[in-house]
Amino acid sequence: MKNAVGREIPEKIGRYVVKPYTGAYTESPSGEPVHTLRTAGKHVSGDCKMLPSIEEAVKAAGLKDGMTISFHHSFREGDEIVGQVLTAIRALGIRHLRFAPSAVVNIKNPSIVDFVKDGTIDRIEASGIRGELGDAVLEGLMEEPVILRTHGSRPRAIEAGELMIDVAFIGAAAADEYGNATGQIGPNACGSLGYSFVDVSNAAKVIVITDYLVDYPCNPASISQQYVDYVVKVDRIGDPDKIGKGAARMTKNPRDLMIAERAADVMAASRLFKDNFSFQTGAGAISIACTNYLAERMEARGVKASFALGGITAAIVDMYKKGLVRVLECSQCFDAVAARAIVEEPGIVEIDNAVYSNPFSKGSMLDKLNFGVLAALEVDTDFNVNILTGSSGEMMGGLGGGPDVAAGSDISIVCLPVVRGRTPSVTKRVFTCCTPGETVAAVVTEAGIALNPAHKYYAELKEDLEKANMKLVTIQYLQELAESLTGVPAPIETTDRVVCVVEYRDGTVIDVIREIKK
């Protein structure tokens, strides 16, 4: 069958029953009470939650074959929790698990592929898979398709009962013996633990793992003891060089700077650019540069923002310190500067990923966003966006919060160059549709700005940009320009076998990724 973005999708994929995508705002929650596996607990004075090893904690939690385990990705590429836990699980001979982290970071030695090959894991549900794991999945590593969800869709799926977590493993930069935990202090401080809140409050068992045990009570505490079953102290939760990596450097690429500046100009030209506006810019090279250009324009015009949302970078912390933004609502800290700032600054706060982005709650913060700046691998002439797969069909990224931000913000701006090397990025049809075109207001490239005539703010944005003498082009023009530079690419050939399901934020299927033909 074909879904509302014209993608051919099977009705069933293995055991997965497909609900086709019908539109960005058409679906509603079931109306049932939210699902959870959390049970009441009992502890009396003198009880101890500390266990000597991860293996002991896995045993105590009663992890069995076929269950679901979860992790957060706040330690990014420096994470050593996932590797240690899966090694312990393998040693106990537990198999066929569903692995459901908030995102799969690219861990090596051990690699997730090893645990799939030996049968420890047989299903993966995450925001993205790349590197060795992504390649292996596209080559048909797994029997069951990988389910990819946006940041907003994950808490929705948990509460809808689609993703019930048996054991949540929560890596913490600091914790006390009774389970109060935080990412904000300790030698491996990562800042916000916002992605783990929904796991902690809905998993059947919660295990906190830390390398920095502090005296009771741990303060600040993002994870509350009332949800935590066991605490384990290990030698190392991660690589401090990678977790605590400093601020990302400002790009020097003139093309990226030009695109970033244009995106800032689009925001500044909009009538929504006035006191108390809100924005989210993200962590890519263009995004960080765009944040700086936006700050310049705010200073020049004397405009202050109410809040910035999502993953926070040093560039946004800098704006806060200049008094340009009142509150930073931080579901993730992208660098050490942001991780430190969350401790020191009263207006930089840690938020639950669910309040950031869950579409089926009583309100997510991104619905209050005026501007969302998004990176993309590809965009097509229907304004559909691909943030997952590269030019040869390989896995390049994760869904992250991109589709959520596009749907929530008034004006969503996709920034990308028209070509990368010989790969056209503005195409007739994206290889994988992740963000539907109806939620994309503008595409900003080095060769011009294209507005989406089907977007709800088209008329007013067009008027504002024309008033500011900004040159507009059509998306078709950008596509033809890209093709005239690169030539017409041969289509990527796939088999019929579906290896990844791409869910939209409401849990419908917006696209699938098929096995690449060798």
Partner: protein, 107 residues
């Protein structure tokens, strides 16, 4: 032209390609292509390589291309260069005289 000695043109920088040519007496044309965009443009690249060899009348050569996503015009230029180097001849610039780009006014 006859390829008399091995020659190299280009770099391994992004958006460039490095082409090596070697004599291959009596054994025709052998092309070995490695490309970041082989799936999308493998055939197009091979066509450009063959066409350029033909233009220069090269009938036997071993050609090795390490492509980092170069545009077609870049591949063509690198080919022209590597053929001339391998053949130990200068490029005949008079070939360019009648071409369209010569007639365009410079900006």
């Amino acid at each position: 032209m006859e390829i008399k000695k091995p020659a190299v043109a280009g770099t391994l920088e992004s958006s460039d390609c490095q082409i090596t040519i070697r004599p291959n007496p009596g054994k025709g044309i052998d092309i070995d292509l490695e490309s970041d965009v082989k799936m999308m443009f493998g055939e197009t690249i091979l066509e450009t390589v063959r066409k350029t060899l033909e233009e220069f009348g090269v009938t036997s050569a071993e050609v090795e291309i390490r492509d980092k996503g170069a545009l077609d015009c870049v591949i063509k230029s690198r080919m022209q260069c590597v053929i001339c180097r391998g053949a130990e001849e200068r490029y005949d610039w008079s070939k360019e005289d009648e071409k369209e780009w010569q007639k365009k006014q410079s900006v």
